[in-house]
C-alpha cells in the first residue's frame, strides 16, 4: 500500500531501459502493476460493500422527504420494538455462535484425530460442506415437516407410539426453534472452517510436550490452545455474523412481530400498510453495521492478544 506515489504510470520504455534507471523504474512499474491487479477487487468491494454501506449510512440520516434528520437513529433507542429486536438478534447470534463453535469444534477435533484418508472423514467433511449452506426456506420447511403439529416425529409419537407428544409443537416458532434451526448450519460451518487449523497441529508437538513430561492438559494449555486460539476466535466471529445477518430462515418460521433486526428491516422496507419507513430500515441496517464493527474491533484486539506469542 505504501508504494511510491506514482502519479502517472511509469512509461513502458522502462522495461527495456538501461541499467541506470532499472532500480527505481522497475519498482514503480511493479507498483502500478500491483495496483492494476487490485482493481477488480476494489471495484467488487466498492460496488457490493462500500457503495451500499454509504447508501445505508446516508439514508439513515434523511427523512423520507430527503431532509437531514436524526429521528430514524433516535428511534433505534426509543422504540421498544427496535431495542428488543437488537437484543434478541445479538442473543441469538451469540448463543448459536458459541453453541456452533463448541459443538462444531469438538466435532472437528474428533474428525482431525481420525484417519486423514478415512471414508468417515470424507463423508463428514462433504456433508458439512453441504449442510453449512443449507439454510433459508428449505431448512425451515424441513424442520416444519419434522417437528411441527403434523411433522413426522410428532405424528410418530401420536400414531405409532400412541403416547403424548413430549414437546409443545409450537417450539419451532420461538427462540428455541431459531437456536436449534440455526445450529443446523452453524455446527457444520464451524467444522469446515476450523478443521484445517486442527489438521495443522502436529503429532510431533504433542510428543515433544509429552517427552518433556507435559500432561495432556499442559499440552493444550501451553501449545495446542495458544496455536488454535486465533483461528477459533476467527471462526466464532464468522459464526456470529452469519447468524446475526440471517434472514430467510427466520422469515420462513416467524412472520408475526418481527422479533429480530433483519425481519424488522424487511418490515420497514416492504410494508404495504405503514408507508415511508425506508430510511428507518436503513437506520436499523446502520445499527447492524455498528454492532458488527464493534464485534470486529473486539475481535481484532483479542486476536492481537491471542497471537502475541507468534511475534
Amino acid at each position: 500500500m505504501i508504494d511510491p506515489p506514482a502519479g502517472a504510470p511509469a512509461p513502458p520504455t522502462v522495461r527495456t531501459a538501461g541499467s541506470a534507471s532499472r532500480g527505481a523504474g522497475r519498482g514503480r512499474l511493479r507498483g502500478a502493476g500491483n495496483y492494476l491487479a487490485f482493481v477488480p477487487f476494489l471495484a467488487y468491494i466498492g460496488l457490493f460493500l462500500i457503495v451500499p454501506t454509504l447508501i445505508v449510512a446516508g439514508g439513515a440520516f434523511l427523512s423520507i422527504q430527503g431532509d437531514p434528520t436524526l429521528d430514524n437513529v433516535i428511534q433505534l433507542f426509543t422504540d421498544e420494538v427496535f431495542v428488543s429486536a437488537f437484543i434478541t438478534s445479538i442473543q441469538l447470534a451469540l448463543g448459536t455462535a458459541i453453541l456452533g463453535a463448541v459443538v462444531g469444534g469438538l466435532l472437528a477435533w474428533a474428525v482431525a484425530r481420525g484417519d486423514p484418508n478415512g471414508q468417515l472423514r470424507q463423508v463428514v467433511v462433504a456433508a458439512s460442506g453441504v449442510l453449512a449452506q443449507f439454510g433459508g426456506v428449505m431448512l425451515a420447511f424441513a424442520f416444519l415437516a419434522t417437528f411441527a403439529g403434523t411433522g413426522l416425529v410428532t405424528l410418530f409419537f401420536k400414531n405409532v407410539l400412541h403416547v403424548g407428544v413430549p414437546y409443545d409443537t409450537t417450539w419451532l416458532f420461538g427462540l428455541t426453534g431459531l437456536v436449534v434451526v440455526y445450529a443446523y448450519f452453524q455446527i457444520p460451518l464451524m467444522l469446515i472452517v476450523f478443521l484445517p487449523s486442527l489438521d495443522g497441529l502436529r503429532q510431533e508437538w504433542y510428543d515433544a510436550s509429552a517427552s518433556l513430561g507435559g500432561s495432556s492438559w499442559a499440552f493444550w494449555r501451553h501449545v495446542g490452545g495458544p496455536i488454535l486460539a486465533p483461528s477459533f476466535l476467527g471462526a466464532l466471529l464468522l459464526l456470529f455474523t452469519n447468524a446475526f445477518s440471517a434472514y430467510a430462515t427466520a422469515a420462513a418460521l416467524i412472520s408475526q412481530g418481527s422479533p429480530i433486526v433483519t425481519l424488522q428491516i424487511s418490515n420497514q422496507l416492504q410494508s404495504e400498510v405503514v408507508l415511508g419507513q425506508e430510511n428507518v430500515g436503513k437506520a436499523l441496517a446502520l445499527g447492524m453495521i455498528v454492532v458488527v464493527t464493534l464485534v470486529m474491533t473486539a475481535y481484532a484486539l483479542i486476536q492481537r492478544r491471542a497471537s502475541r506469542w507468534v511475534r
Binding site: S255, Q256, G257, N267, V273
Partner: protein
C-alpha cells in the same frame, strides 16, 4: 385529497354491495346498490360515445403511448404491438393469488405475449421498489397490482390508460384518466381443515382445541391481508371500522393462549398441515380447496358469521417506465375483459365489472355460485380509517414475542 380517497373507498363498498344484491336477489337488498348501479348506468353511454368517436379518429397514437385502445386503433392493434414487444413483466402475482396462474396462461394463449412473473410473493410496496431499482434494465415490472394506500402514494409512477370496458367500472372505482383502476377484491375469511371440527365464527378460533393451529397471512404492520384480518376480528368483537382495538385484543388473547402461530401460511404449509386454520382473503383460499382434495384434506373457506364481511379492492396500473408498454396495455385489456373478470371469479375473487356482467349475462354463473358471496353489507375502511388503524397497530401490535414466557 383525503376526502377524495374516502369517497373512492366508500364507493368501492357500494359496488360490492351492488354485486351482492345482484347475485342474491332473494335476500334483503341493502340501501347502497341503487346508488352504484345508477352511477354505472349514467356514465356508460357518454363513455361509450367518446370511445367510438376516438376510434373514428383512427390510430393516431402509437400503442405504447395510448391512453385508450381506441386511440391506437383498437384492442387488437394494442395487442399486436404488444406481441411485437414479446413479453410483459408482472410482479407480485403468485399463481395461487386470485387465480393469477390461469390468468397468465389464458393471456399468453390468447395474445401470444409471454408473461414473465417475478418475485411472486412480495408486497405492494416492493413492487414500486422493484420498478425504481430495475428502471431501464428491461426487467422492471410493466404492470402493478397495488393496495390503495401504495397506489395513492405513488401516482407519479403510473401511466394513465382506460380499458375498453371502462364504462362498466363505476366512476368511484377508477382514477378519471385511468392512472389506476380497481380490479378485484375478496372477503376476509377463515379457511380451515374441516376434520378439525366446524368453524363458523371468529370467536371459535379461541377454542383451546385450536392451540398452535391458527395463522394470519402476514404481519398486519406489513401485509394488507393480515391488516384486514385484524379488522375482521375487531368487527366480531364489538369493534368497528373506526375502532380496531377489540381485534388487536382478540389476537393478543390468541397469542397468549398459544392458538396463534407466527408462521406465514403458504400453500406448502397448508398442504403440510402446519397451518390448518388460516385467516386470509377468500381468493387466496378458495383455490386451495381443489388442490388439497387429492391429499384427503377437506379445506373449507367461510366468511365468519359474527363479523360483517371485510373487503378491499386491489388496483391495476401500468408502470410509467414500462419496458413493454403496449404489452402492458394489452394485459390490462385482458384482465378487464369478460374472460379475465370471470377468471378472477373462478379464483374466488370478486371482479369489479361483476354487476355489469351479471346484467349483460356474461358472468360465469357456476363460478359465482361456488364463491357464494355473503349477503350482508361489506365493510371497507376509508383512507382516514386505515391511517388511524395503522397508527393504533403501530402502538399496540407489540405483544408477539419469541422469548419463552416468563
Amino acid at each position: 385529497m383525503s376526502s377524495h380517497r374516502t369517497v373512492t373507498r366508500l364507493a368501492g363498498l357500494a359496488v360490492v354491495a351492488t354485486f351482492v344484491s345482484a347475485a342474491c336477489s332473494s335476500s334483503g337488498a341493502s340501501v347502497a346498490p341503487s346508488v352504484a348501479a345508477s352511477a354505472a348506468a349514467s356514465t356508460a353511454p357518454s363513455a361509450a360515445a367518446s370511445t367510438a368517436a376516438s376510434a373514428a379518429a383512427s390510430a393516431a397514437v402509437a400503442p405504447k403511448d395510448a391512453t385508450t385502445a381506441a386511440a391506437a386503433g383498437g384492442v387488437d392493434a394494442i395487442c399486436a404491438a404488444g406481441k411485437t414487444e414479446g413479453t410483459v413483466n408482472l410482479i407480485a402475482t403468485p399463481p395461487d393469488w386470485a387465480n393469477y396462474g390461469q390468468m397468465i396462461t389464458d393471456f399468453t394463449a390468447k395474445t401470444g405475449i409471454k408473461v414473465k412473473s417475478d418475485q411472486p410473493d412480495v408486497d405492494s410496496a416492493a413492487e414500486i421498489k422493484a420498478a425504481n431499482d430495475l428502471k431501464g434494465t428491461g426487467r422492471q415490472p410493466d404492470i402493478f397490482d397495488l393496495t390503495t394506500a401504495v397506489t395513492l402514494a405513488n401516482l407519479d409512477k403510473l401511466a394513465p390508460y382506460q380499458v375498453a370496458t371502462w364504462a362498466d367500472i363505476p366512476d368511484a372505482n377508477k382514477e378519471p384518466t385511468g392512472v389506476w383502476t380497481k380490479n378485484y377484491t375478496g372477503f376476509q375469511s377463515i379457511a380451515y381443515d374441516s376434520s378439525l371440527g366446524d368453524i363458523t365464527k371468529v370467536a371459535d378460533l379461541a377454542d383451546p382445541k385450536y392451540k398452535g393451529k391458527v395463522a394470519l397471512n402476514g404481519d398486519p404492520l406489513k401485509a394488507g391481508a393480515a391488516f384486514n384480518g385484524v379488522v375482521m376480528a375487531a368487527l366480531a368483537n364489538g369493534g368497528s371500522a373506526d375502532n380496531i382495538a377489540p381485534g388487536v385484543e382478540f389476537f393478543k388473547k390468541l397469542t397468549q393462549s398459544g392458538n396463534l402461530i407466527p408462521v406465514d401460511p403458504a400453500p406448502a404449509t397448508i398442504a403440510l398441515g402446519t397451518t390448518p386454520i388460516v385467516i386470509d382473503w377468500t381468493y387466496n383460499e378458495v383455490p386451495q380447496i381443489a388442490k388439497l382434495q387429492p391429499s384427503g384434506i377437506n379445506w373449507k373457506v367461510i366468511v365468519p358469521s359474527d363479523a360483517s364481511p371485510v373487503g378491499a379492492f386491489y388496483n391495476s396500473a401500468i408502470n410509467k417506465d414500462a419496458s413493454h408498454p403496449a404489452a402492458a396495455r394489452c394485459w390490462l385489456e385482458y384482465v378487464f375483459s369478460d374472460a379475465g373478470q370471470n377468471t378472477w371469479l373462478k379464483g374466488g375473487a370478486i371482479p369489479i365489472r361483476l354487476a355489469a356482467m351479471q346484467k349483460a349475462g356474461t358472468l360465469d354463473q357456476a363460478a359465482l355460485a361456488a364463491v357464494n358471496p355473503p349477503t350482508t353489507p361489506v365493510v371497507q375502511l376509508t383512507n382516514a380509517q386505515v391511517d388511524a388503524a395503522t397508527q393504533y397497530l403501530k402502538d399496540n401490535w407489540k405483544f408477539i414475542t419469541i422469548l419463552p414466557p416468563k
